[in-house]
C-alpha cells in the first residue's frame, strides 16, 4: 500500500492525527500537519512512498502548525515545529510545502553529521553514482531533475550524502524544488514529469516540486558507488563545454561545498580524498539540458570502459 493509494480523506485524517511516516532513505520523518491544502500536495509528491505506521524511531518529528499569534487573523501563517522548537519564522500558510521541504533539509543538515553531506545533486545508473556539487543558482536542481527524467535513478537533488565507512552515496529521493523558469523548462523537457502545485511569491520566486519516480523511491535503500564528479554551471547561450578538473581543484571545491567538511575534520578529509581519487572529475558548462544530460551519460559510459584499476588521473 502506497501513500498515493490512500483515499484523500483517510490520508488527511492521518496527517492531522497520529501523523504520516516518511522514510526517504537517508532519514525517516514523522510529520503532522493541520494546514489546509498540505496533505493533498504532500500526497501527490510522495505518492510512491509506502504507507508505514508512524510508530518507532524517527530521525525527524515535525509538524506544520498554524501560527498562534494575532497575525493569524490578518494573514494566516504556518510554522515548522520540530521537537518543541520553531527554527524559523513562519511562512504564509499557502506556502506549506516549500516550508516543509526547507525544514526537513535544515534538520538533515543538523542531524546527519555521521555522513559527509555534500551540497550536490546525485543520480545513479547501474549502481554507479554521478555527483553534481554546486552552489545555488548554478542549475543543479534542474539538471538533476532532467537526468532523473531521462532514466537516471534519483539519489538526491540537495544532499550528496556519503557513508564515511566506504564512501558510498546514500539515497534521499525527495521532491525536487524547481524555481521560476525551470518549472516551465521541465514541463517542456519531459511530458511525464509529475509536477506538484506551483507556489508563487515565495522568497525565491515561484516554486514547484517534481515528484520522485517510483523506481527511485523503491530503491532508496540501495547505495551507489560514486564514479563521476561533475561541477555544473548553467550559462545562458553558452556552448556545451566539458573540461577535466584537476584533482586538487576538485578537492578544494568539494571541501568548500560540503555542509559539514569543517565539522567532520579528519573524517571529511579522508572521505573527500577518497572521493576525488576514485572519481573522474569534470566541469560542465551548458545552456541546453538535453546536451548536458547526453554529455553526462557519455562521461559515465566512457568511465565504464576504462578498467577501474587502471584509472589514474582524470585525463
Amino acid at each position: 500500500m502506497r501513500i498515493g493509494d490512500l483515499a484523500t480523506s483517510v490520508f488527511d485524517r492521518e496527517m492531522r492525527g497520529a501523523g504520516i511516516a516518511l522514510d526517504f532513505g537517508l532519514a525517516k520523518v514523522r510529520v503532522r500537519a493541520e494546514v489546509p491544502g498540505f496533505s493533498e500536495a504532500f500526497r501527490f509528491l510522495y505518492a510512491h512512498f509506502p504507507c508505514e505506521p508512524p510508530q518507532g524511531f524517527f530521525e525527524i518529528t515535525a509538524s506544520l502548525r498554524r501560527s498562534r499569534g494575532l497575525r493569524r487573523h490578518v494573514r494566516p501563517q504556518v510554522e515548522f515545529v520540530v521537537d518543541g522548537e520553531r527554527p524559523f519564522e513562519p511562512f504564509p500558510s499557502d506556502t506549506h510545502v516549500p516550508l516543509f521541504e526547507w525544514g526537513v533539509n535544515f534538520c538533515v543538515a543538523r542531524r546527519c553529521n555521521h555522513r559527509l553531506l555534500l551540497h550536490a545533486g546525485a543520480v545513479a545508473r547501474d549502481g554507479e553514482a554521478v555527483l553534481l556539487p554546486a552552489l545555488p543558482g548554478t542549475g543543479k536542481s534542474t539538471l538533476t531533475a532532467a537526468l532523473a527524467a531521462r532514466g537516471f535513478r534519483l539519489l538526491s537533488d540537495e544532499f550528496g550524502a556519503l557513508r564515511l565507512s566506504d564512501g558510498a552515496v546514500l539515497p534521499a529521493p525527495r521532491p525536487i524544488a524547481l524555481k521560476n523558469e525551470s518549472i516551465e523548462l521541465m514541463r517542456r523537457f519531459s511530458k511525464d514529469v509529475a509536477l506538484g502545485p506551483t507556489f508563487p511569491k515565495t522568497r525565491k520566486g515561484s516554486v514547484a516540486h517534481l515528484a520522485p519516480a517510483a523506481e527511485s523511491v523503491a530503491r532508496r535503500h540501495e547505495p551507489a558507488r560514486p564514479v563521476l564528479l561533475v561541477f555544473p554551471q548553467f550559462v545562458r547561450g553558452a556552448a556545451l563545454a566539458v573540461e577535466p578538473v584537476r584533482r586538487s581543484r576538485a578537492f578544494a571545491r568539494l571541501s568548500t561545498n560540503a555542509f559539514n567538511y569543517e565539522l567532520l575534520g579528519p573524517a571529511a578529509f579522508d572521505a573527500v580524498g577518497r572521493l576525488v581519487q576514485e572519481c573522474n572529475c569534470y566541469s560542465l558548462v551548458y545552456d541546453d539540458l538535453d546536451g548536458a544530460v547526453d554529455a553526462i551519460a557519455t562521461l559515465l559510459a566512457r568511465r565504464g570502459r576504462r578498467s577501474h584499476a587502471g584509472a589514474t588521473s582524470g585525463h
Partner: protein
C-alpha cells in the same frame, strides 16, 4: 649529520607530525593539520619538500639537492630563496618546525 660551516650549524627542518594524514592528488598533495584541523593543498614543489621532511630532517642545501635529483636537472636551477620562502610558509601553517642542528644545546 648536520652540515656545519665555521661560525654555526646549518638550520634544518622537519615535519611536525610524521604520521600526518595526506592524500596524493596527481602531483600535488592534500594535507590535514591535526592541530588546527585545517586542510592544506601543496603544489608539486611544496609536496616534494614536505614529503622529504616527513621522512627526515633536512637543511636548505639538502632539500635543494633532493629537488634537483627529482627533476633530473631539468628546467631552471632552484634557488635557495625559493626553498626558504616555501619553508617559511610551511612553518607558518604549522606543518614543519625548525630543529636545531647544534648538538651542544
Amino acid at each position: 649529520m648536520p652540515d656545519r660551516t665555521p661560525g654555526g650549524p646549518d638550520p634544518r627542518w622537519r615535519a611536525c607530525h610524521p604520521t600526518i594524514r595526506s592524500v596524493p592528488l596527481d602531483d600535488e598533495l592534500a594535507v590535514f593539520n591535526p592541530v588546527s584541523w585545517e586542510t592544506h593543498l601543496l603544489n608539486p614543489g611544496g609536496a616534494q619538500v614536505f614529503e622529504v621532511l616527513l621522512e627526515r630532517a633536512a637543511s636548505i642545501r639538502e632539500l635543494r639537492a633532493e629537488l634537483e635529483a627529482l627533476r633530473a636537472d631539468e628546467g631552471e636551477p632552484i634557488r635557495d630563496e625559493q626553498i626558504e620562502a616555501l619553508l617559511a610558509e610551511l612553518e607558518d601553517l604549522g606543518l614543519i618546525t625548525r630543529v636545531s642542528g647544534d648538538a651542544d644545546r
